[in-house]
């Protein structure tokens, strides 16, 4: 059988950013009618490589050949001209626009006047041809995520794309929608399109791709025919180490439950139900890890406990007292330490100084009576300065001074700052949301160590993290959240990855065998 022609050929692509080489002399090619997967962990360089192909980045070295001809991509317009379409992880759709309006946005029309009916007809044609069912008049905000993705694909097809790049397309899809997508991709490939499929999910890569290229730390590690490899081999290529999960962990000395969440329901920002009568409890001296794909209610759970989101139903009980819907100050007073997910937007006030951020949660504590003014009016600056100095040295926050503006600190130090503020009060209960997200190895290790210290000291810790490795490393018990409910709670020692994966994808524990 004759080999299909090579449509995309990238030779020696190198792309550097300050401090990191995202793509290091990469060779990549894809043929007509092929679904070629780009596999790698977060940060391996997959998206960067495709951004280069799509003209969003200019490579520092290397060449691109499309259909045998060398091309220079100066912008996405050039890529579209070469019949390349890219569907990004985060959709670039305009919510109040209709499907058709989104598809024709940016296209030229004669005399600048839109011909909407004509466009709608073509949209319907295309959607029928490739099985991408969508109503051309529907407004984007009304569509499900899967439908929105179809619009993105139609956008590319409408412009004549023959090469399609999809970046982690299933991260926001349900299993059914994923199968629909695969059907569409196969149909497109049969019709002669070339598809590059970026993913970190082994199962999908095995299922959908013809060939797979594995990237690690910016370099190509291997390119194989999918039928000639298996999950274990791919995993090993991706990660290069036998995945070791379990740290030596002291057996938890459990006390009473100090944080109890009983049938709590809450709405998300979009006024949909994000928490559906969820129940959890955490005991003194244990770390309960909450795992799950982001967007299944974890953020809302943390916010309800923290006192910044209203619980529409149920109870939050702290140390035996009903603290449902109390103010953040009362919750902090009750001995709860909160490490929020959004460091810069919620956890810190970056335009204020380090010193001020360390004391802002509990200003009353740094205030005395002055003349006839009661405690709480005038600040005791000396006390604040002392406190700040102590914390900065104890938690090794690297900052030019305590007066420095918080926005000058690096990510790891921002987290140390929050940790310092929180742990200074010796909280009996800790809520940590994504505590090591975006941090380097050193900072990550430090934060995790601190959490374990607190646990040893008898604190009850609720750890919410997307990083499954982190959950498995630190937790005593693991709860998996899916669509606002707990799918199951398992002791960490006995947890099996496949089981947790299935719960994360929607299967309740009771339905999992073994």
């Amino acid at each position: 059988m004759r080999r299909p022609p090579v449509v995309v050929k990238m030779v020696g692509i190198t792309k550097k950013f300050p401090g990191v080489i995202a793509n290091d002399n990469i060779n990549f090619e894809a043929s007509k009618g092929e679904i070629h997967a780009l596999l790698g962990e977060n940060g391996a360089g997959k998206t960067t490589l495709m951004n280069v192909l799509y003209g969003l980045y200019r490579p520092d070295a290397g060449e691109i050949y499309i259909r045998g001809k060398k091309v220079i991509m100066r912008s996405p317009n050039d890529a579209v001209g070469q019949k390349i379409g890219m569907i990004h992880q985060h959709f670039t759709l305009v919510p109040p626009f209709t499907v058709t309006q989104n598809i024709i946005l940016g296209l030229r029309f004669p005399k600048g006047v839109l011909k909407v009916e004509q466009a709608e007809k073509r949209v319907v044609e295309l959607s029928k041809k490739y099985g991408l069912k969508v109503d051309p008049r529907a407004q984007i905000w009304q569509l499900s995520v899967g439908e929105q993705q179809r619009v993105e694909i139609l956008k590319a097809l409408y412009r004549g794309a023959e090469i399609l790049i999809l970046d982690e397309p299933t991260s926001v899809l349900t299993p059914t929608e994923t199968q629909d997508l695969f059907k569409t991709l196969r149909s497109l490939a049969k019709g002669g399109a070339t598809i590059v499929y970026i993913s970190h999910k082994l199962d999908e890569v095995i299922e959908i791709s013809d060939r797979v290229t594995v990237l690690r730390d910016g370099k190509v590690v291997a390119t194989k025919r999918t039928s000639a490899t298996n999950k274990r081999e791919l995993a090993r290529l991706m990660v290069k180490r036998e995945v070791i999960f379990r740290l030596k962990r002291p057996k938890a000395k459990l006390g009473r439950p100090v944080l109890e969440i009983k049938k709590v329901s809450a709405l998300s920002d979009r006024k949909l139900l994000a928490l559906k009568e969820i129940s959890l409890s955490v005991c003194e001296g244990e770390i309960l890890g909450v795992a799950g794909v982001a967007g299944n209610g974890q953020r809302e759970l943390a916010e309800v406990i923290a006192g910044v989101r209203k619980a529409a139903g149920g109870k939050v009980i702290i140390k035996g007292e009903d603290m449902t819907n109390r103010s953040p100050s009362e919750i902090v007073e009750a001995g709860v330490g909160r490490i929020p997910e959004d460091r810069i937007g919620m956890g810190l006030i970056t335009d204020l100084s380090v010193k001020e951020n360390l004391v802002m949660e509990t200003l009353q504590d740094f205030s005395d009576r002055v003349f006839f003014f009661p405690k709480g009016v005038f600040l005791n600056h000396a006390a604040i300065d002392n406190h700040a100095d102590e914390l900065i040295s104890e938690f090794k926050v690297i900052t030019p001074s305590k007066e420095a503006l918080t926005k000058t600190l690096s990510g790891g130090n921002l987290q140390r700052l929050i940790l310092a503020r929180v742990l200074a009060r010796n909280p009996k209960i800790l809520i940590a949301s994504e505590p090591t997200r975006g941090l380097d190895v050193g900072a990550t290790e430090y934060i995790r160590r601190k959490l374990l210290e607190q646990k040893k000291g008898g604190a009850a810790i609720l750890l919410i993290s997307e990083d499954l490795e982190e959950i498995l490393t630190l937790s005593d018990r693991i709860a998996v959240m899916y669509e606002g409910k707990v799918m199951g709670i398992v002791p960490a020692r006995k947890a099996k990855i496949e089981g947790i994966g299935m719960m994360m994808a929607g299967t309740p524990l009771s339905k999992i065998k073994g």
Partner: protein, 312 residues
């Protein structure tokens, strides 16, 4: 004299359309730039400069239309300044707009004193725009004097309404403007130059505000008085929200406010005593009430007030 007479009614209607014009022009312009995501708080300053410079040019050249053009031009310059501050430099739009307003307020007065009317003298006047009767149509009862016997600027304002509507809803440019205001990142990815669109919209807004200003000193009165716009620019800003950025509703809102102004003027013209100061208070009070009523429902361009930064 009774109120419910034919003369009163017709005078009132004609006045309404006249007095709605500056608000109409200013609001249409503001709708443009807000639709693209920029709140132009400098509109009051724009208008004053348009009134002042326009008047001065008309006074010196004897040509009213040159004055209007000058007003539009100076308005565009101020729009350009606003664009530079808020689009290119990313200044907070509230603050940038206030700066422009202050600039307009001060300069309009100073330049007027400098070039045309030193203190203590008699304020110079020009012959303002006279109503132009459209042959044939102006003879129709009621509609004739109302719609077809108006100074030129009124016709321009009315014509702009369907034009702006067409641009917003049926052209590629309008689609781009709306996209830029709703989701600049999506627009950028679609190959649209967000900065250029916003600049263009601010230029349009500035020009229209300048022409609106010219109305004050060249249509409604025959001279320039410092601060003569009396806060109409702010009414425009609120009106954009009230009308949900739709040109036809903007016309409706402008007529409403024009009507209140007209009521006061008509009473005065017909010699009817009425606590007209209270009437003058009403547009502003109304505007606040409307803002509150609409606050929850308003579908703001999602990217309003946010400077766009492209991450490379």
């Amino acid at each position: 004299m009774e109120i419910l007479t034919y003369t009163f009614f017709v005078t009132f209607l004609a006045m309404t359309f006249r007095m709605a014009t500056p608000i109409l022009l200013g609001t249409l312009g503001e709708a443009f730039c807000e639709r693209s995501g920029v709140l132009n708080l400098g509109i009051e300053g724009n208008m004053l400069m348009g009134a002042s410079i326009g008047f001065m040019v008309a006074y010196f050249t004897g040509n009213l239309w040159l004055g209007v053009l000058a007003g539009a031009f100076i308005g565009m310059l101020m729009g350009l300044l606003m664009a530079f501050l808020s689009v290119t430099l990313g200044a907070r739009q509230h603050v940038a707009g206030l700066g422009i307003t202050f600039l307009g307020m001060g300069l309009s007065f100073f330049l007027y004193r400098l070039f045309v009317a030193p203190e203590g003298g008699v304020p110079p006047t020009i012959t303002p725009f006279r109503p132009i009767a459209i042959p044939g149509l102006s003879g129709i009862p009621v509609l004739g004097p109302t719609l077809f016997t108006q100074p030129a600027l009124v016709y321009i304002g009315l014509l702009l309404v369907p034009i702006v509507g067409f641009v917003f809803y049926r052209t590629t440019f309008g689609l781009k403007v709306t996209a830029v205001g709703q989701n600049p990142k999506a627009a950028d990815t679609a190959g649209i130059n967000v900065f250029r669109i916003r600049y263009l919209c601010l230029l349009v807004a500035g020009a229209l505000a300048g022409i609106a200003g010219a109305w004050f000193s060249m249509v409604q009165s025959s001279q320039f008085l410092p601060g003569m716009t009396m806060g109409r620019g702010w009414v425009c800003i609120a009106l954009v929200i009230f009308a949900n950025w739709s040109p036809y509703r903007i016309l409706g809102g402008a007529l409403l406010f024009g009507g209140i102004d007209a009521l006061q003027t008509t009473f005065a013209a017909l010699g009817i005593a009425f606590p007209y100061r209270i009437l003058q208070m009403l547009p502003y009070l109304f505007t606040i009430i409307i803002l509150v009523a609409v606050a929850r429902r308003a579908t703001y361009p999602a990217a309003l007030l946010q400077p766009y930064r492209r991450e490379e």
